[in-house]
């Protein structure tokens, strides 16, 4: 039949997680992205992550803006609520959803256009508020959906399909996040699910804003030699600095790693993330060191992946707001309304 075969996300249908759910239970609708699009690989990693974490699907809130990347929430976790909103405003909508119901696992999926152009201000302020959420930038250096214009993360000198060269410096969300006091910063590559899943698990467990920048090649408009977001470039230049291996609090199995090579970071929810740092002394909690290291590697034209920075000392939006542990949506109306008599008392000062 003359139609394009879509990449079927390979699922192992029989394994069950703690909730008794199979990978299939975390699947979504059929992708309408281009065959080979990096975003589909990230979708697969997300499915794997939620399954491994045994998240009840309906506790996931999937949010996105507009773009090819922002379509992907339709392709995973059909049993989760999803909100494909407008271009660039996802962070604000997620902030509201999280404010109302802190029990939701907010999963924001965005693109580099969505997050670094039109939505840049909101991203910065969501970082500042430390909204507890997983915020993915499916970063391909282009506006995929509008057919290949440079985004703010396009590399200097990379050329578009039309042959123009980008002359502007790329916005690096990791460096940006560091300058704003972000509490969780990681970078992955859509083509490397083995590294990505542990990063996503760590991000999901972080009690604050977890920004994951994922290099995700656009096969239509940016998978060419001029761009660092292409597969070819990634395969040559990717530098796996850190392997994040997430161990959920529920199962205490720890991968035995060579002594002296590992750094353990405790998560607020009791989970722990273990890092195997390729540079032996890499410490994702040392902001100065992280900054210097990243700068250095960027200077060498390298892309550093892994869990790059984490600070668990900052309370999230709800901690700052001193809200109850119970989601605000669950508070009964009686708790919220001061009632008739109080209204009368209150008005005494208005006479």
């Amino acid at each position: 039949m003359p139609s394009i075969t879509k990449p079927l996300i390979p699922l192992v249908p029989l394994l069950r997680n703690e909730l008794g759910l199979t990978l299939q239970d975390y699947a979504g609708g059929m992708s309408t992205l281009c065959a080979g699009c990096g975003h589909d690989s990230i979708t697969a990693a997300l499915i794997q992550t939620f399954w491994e974490l045994s998240v009840p699907p309906h506790m996931i809130a999937k949010l996105s803006g507009i773009g090819c990347s922002s379509k992907t929430p339709a392709y995973f976790a059909s049993h989760a609520h999803g909100f494909n909103s407008v271009h660039g405003r996802m962070a604000t909508i997620a902030t509201g959803a999280g404010a109302a119901n802190r029990d939701l696992l907010l999963v924001g999926v965005s693109g580099d256009g969505d997050s670094l152009s039109i939505g840049l201000g909101h991203l910065c302020h969501a970082i500042r508020r430390n909204v507890r959420m997983l915020y993915l930038i499916e970063n391909n250096g282009v506006y995929g959906l509008t057919k290949g214009q440079f985004s703010a993360s396009a590399d200097i000198g990379s050329t578009s399909r039309r042959g123009e060269a980008n002359l502007l410096q790329a916005v690096d969300p990791i460096l940006l996040g560091l300058s704003l006091g972000a509490t969780f910063l990681a970078r992955g590559f859509s083509g490397d699910k083995e590294q990505l899943v542990p990063i996503l698990k760590a991000a999901a467990a972080h009690d604050g804003f977890a920004l994951v920048d994922i290099i995700s090649p656009c096969v239509q408009f940016n998978d060419h030699e001029g761009s660092t977001k292409s597969y070819r470039y990634m395969r040559d230049h990717e530098l796996k600095e850190i392997d994040a291996d997430f161990i959920s609090a529920h199962e205490e199995i720890v991968e035995v790693l060579g002594p002296g090579l590992a750094t353990d970071v405790a998560m607020h929810d009791g989970g722990r993330v273990r890092f195997r740092a390729v540079p032996e002394d890499y410490d994702p909690r040392d902001r100065g060191g992280v900054e210097a290291y990243l700068r250095d590697r960027v200077g060498h034209g390298e892309i550093v992946t892994g869990l790059l920075y984490i600070d668990e000392s900052v309370p999230d939006m709800h901690g700052l707001g001193r809200t109850p542990r119970e989601p605000l949506v669950n508070l009964p109306y009686q708790k919220l309304c001061p009632g008739k008599d109080e209204l009368r008392r209150f008005q005494e000062s208005f006479r």
Binding site: H58, V86, R89, A97, R322, P324, P327, E342
Partner: protein, 612 residues
């Protein structure tokens, strides 16, 4: 002579004062002290703050109108001017009515050419009096205000004990400040008693007409409404004149929504906030937060003014199309663009009604005073959830930032929020499969579900084309089915909007239609017109889509004047388009200089057109 006539002649309980001050010199509390005192004496009164968009140093005015019959819209006839700002002497002196009075600080001589023979000049050496008694320059500046208030207590025959009582209520906890105030008040009071024949013909006599009233500004009342409606999430970006909506909401929440945690661990806060207010980075974000919170099931709102509303346009379209409730309070100010941030208009009507590109139609509520701000804000949450759509409460600066005498706010403890059609876990178990945009009721509303409740309720919201199952579509029929239902829903909402306020006069061939803070002035104008032989019925719209009464009212009258404070006749345009009323029956009275409306302007506007 009837008592009313005597009063008019002597101007007892029927007069207006204007106080000209310098912004940032602390005159506000002295001025509201005076208004408060009159209010406590049982006499209907209003205070209008005509302030600049500035923090310190520019001219500012305060107008007090006293009227036993409750006509307290702005008067343009000033019986007494308190001229405390040298920069505006000329203008202020010119504004006193012939036969009126002017009180000024004669610590410095007043230039002769400013004098008017038909006005009585009352010089009080305020600065000198205060310089003698107060040491710091800060106190001298502040206390001058209290001193002129003291003089006015004498001149207007206000009850000194009552005023003393008011001071104690304000400053009782700060003894030194209280004493300074008392002293300054006495200085002015005694000077006036000693030097002028007190009281003036325009003065106050006790009545009993404010017993059931309170003095409150609309923004406080709006905040109270949000509190009582059970809003738990709010997001905002500061903007004049809406700022105090949210500042009051925060204050009220800190008072009423803070729950003690008796078993808090040491080091942990001993209380919890049963609310979360996000000061957003801009208005787009503020509405985004509200949409997100409402989607997740909270009652959420934001407050803003014109420029913010423009910025919210795209997200208003999203909420409309995805059917997410959202309450937006727009405290209107004078546009266009930044315009005059401290001036009033109702000029966001068209933008609000059709906010966003594409076919969008919003629900609007139009409070006319703080009392309605309270009740319509509560209603806004009910309507937003009932109809799963944004509701814009179009207040304005006059209502929002001035103190109004309104009946004490009441609350029915039996009130239960109308959450509209929301399926819970139980209900979801009972249906075979949930689809977001199917199963419409007679109001064309389809049930929604909330995230985190049940995997059976999961659905995917999208601002892109969708069919009645919630699926993505680009098919004409499927797309139309949804937008047609949205239109039907908007129509259905008309019957659920607050009914217009209607005062039909027997035999009236003229109708007057108005909105919002124009209310009092237009009511007074209707009376004045009647005295002049023109009987006019009155209708004030309170919600859009318009209930059927609006069109009926137009049909019932030969000619209808639409009175509103904007240049472009926005309410009239909306009525025309949406009711299909014959355009030749509708006339406009437009007053849009930015100051609160006065009956005189309305009468003039109507008479001019009746004579033609």
């Amino acid at each position: 002579m009837l008592q009313a006539e005597i009063q008019a002649a002597t101007r007892v309980n029927d007069f207006a004062i204007k106080l000209a001050n310098v912004n940032g010199t602390g005159s506000a509390s002295a001025n509201s002290l005076l208004m408060q005192a009159i209010f406590r004496m049982g006499v209907p009164v209003s205070g209008k703050n005509l302030f600049p968009s500035n923090i310190q140093g520019l001219p500012t005015w305060y107008e007090i109108r006293v009227n036993a019959d409750g006509h307290t819209s702005r008067s343009l006839e000033y019986d007494l001017m308190v001229a405390m700002n040298g920069q505006t002497y000329a203008q202020d002196i010119a504004e006193v009515r012939s036969g009126g009075y002017l009180l000024f600080d004669d610590s410095w001589p007043l230039e002769l050419e400013l004098r008017r023979p038909d006005v009585t000049f009352l010089g009080v050496p305020l600065a000198r009096l205060c310089a003698d008694k107060f040491a710091s320059s800060r106190e001298r500046i502040l206390m001058k205000n209290v001193a002129y208030a003291g003089a006015l207590v004498a001149l207007l025959d206000l009850d000194p004990e009552l005023v003393a009582q008011l001071l104690t209520e304000s400053y009782g906890h700060r003894q030194q400040l209280l004493e300074s105030n008392q002293l300054a008040l006495r200085l002015g009071y005694e000077y006036a008693r000693g030097n002028f024949s007190c009281p003036l013909p325009c003065h106050v006599e006790r009545l009993d007409k404010t017993r059931d009233l309170i003095m409150i500004d609309g923004n406080t009342a709006t905040a109270l409404g949000a509190l009582y409606a059970g809003a738990t999430v709010a997001a905002w970006y500061p903007i004049t004149p809406a700022t105090s909506v949210m500042e009051n909401f925060i204050r009220l929440c800190a008072k009423y929504r803070r729950e003690a945690v008796p078993d808090a661990n040491p080091g942990e806060p001993a209380f919890r906030n049963n609310y979360l207010v996000v000061q957003a980075e801009d208005e787009l974000a503020a509405l985004g937060v509200v949409v997100g919170a409402s989607w997740a099931g909270a009652r959420a709102f934001t407050s803003t003014s014109g420029p913010g509303l423009s910025l919210m346009s795209e997200l208003l379209g999203l909420a409309y199309y995805t059917e997410v409730p959202a309450v937006v309070v727009d405290v209107q100010r004078a546009g266009p663009s930044t315009g005059m941030p401290t001036r009033v208009q109702q000029a966001d009507i068209l933008m609000a009604a059709y906010a966003s590109h594409g076919d969008t139609k919003q629900l609007l509520l139009f409070p006319a005073d703080p009392g309605e701000c309270f009740h319509l804000t509560v209603l806004a949450f009910d309507l937003a959830e009932r109809f799963q759509t944004p509701v814009l409460v179009l207040s304005d600066l006059d209502i929002g930032m001035n103190d109004w005498a309104v009946p004490e706010l009441t609350w029915d403890d039996a009130y239960v929020p109308d959450r509209g059609r929301v399926l819970g876990e139980q209900e979801l178990q009972e249906i075979s499969e949930f689809f977001r945009y199917s199963d419409e009721d007679q109001l064309s509303v389809t049930p929604r579900t909330l995230p985190g409740v049940s995997p059976r309720g999961a659905y995917f919201v999208r601002g892109s084309g969708h069919d009645r199952l919630g699926g993505y579509t680009e098919r004409p029929d499927d797309y139309q089915q949804v937008v047609d239902r949205l239109l039907a829903k908007h129509r259905a909402a008309a019957d659920h909007m607050p009914a217009p306020v209607l005062e039909q006069r027997p035999g009236a061939q003229v109708g007057v239609i108005t909105v919002g803070s124009c209310d009092l002035a237009v009511r007074e104008a209707v009376q004045l017109l009647s005295q002049a032989g023109v009987e006019a019925s009155y209708l004030r719209v309170r919600g859009f889509p318009f209930p059927a009464q609006v069109r009926q009212f137009i049909d019932d009258h030969e000619i209808c004047f639409v009175v509103e404070q904007n240049r472009d006749a926005q309410l009239k345009a909306l009525i025309q388009v949406e009711t299909g009323a014959p355009s030749e029956k509708l006339r406009s009275v437009l007053v849009y200089g930015g100051l609160p409306l006065s009956a005189r302007e309305v009468v003039a506007g109507i008479k001019r057109q009746l004579e033609v």
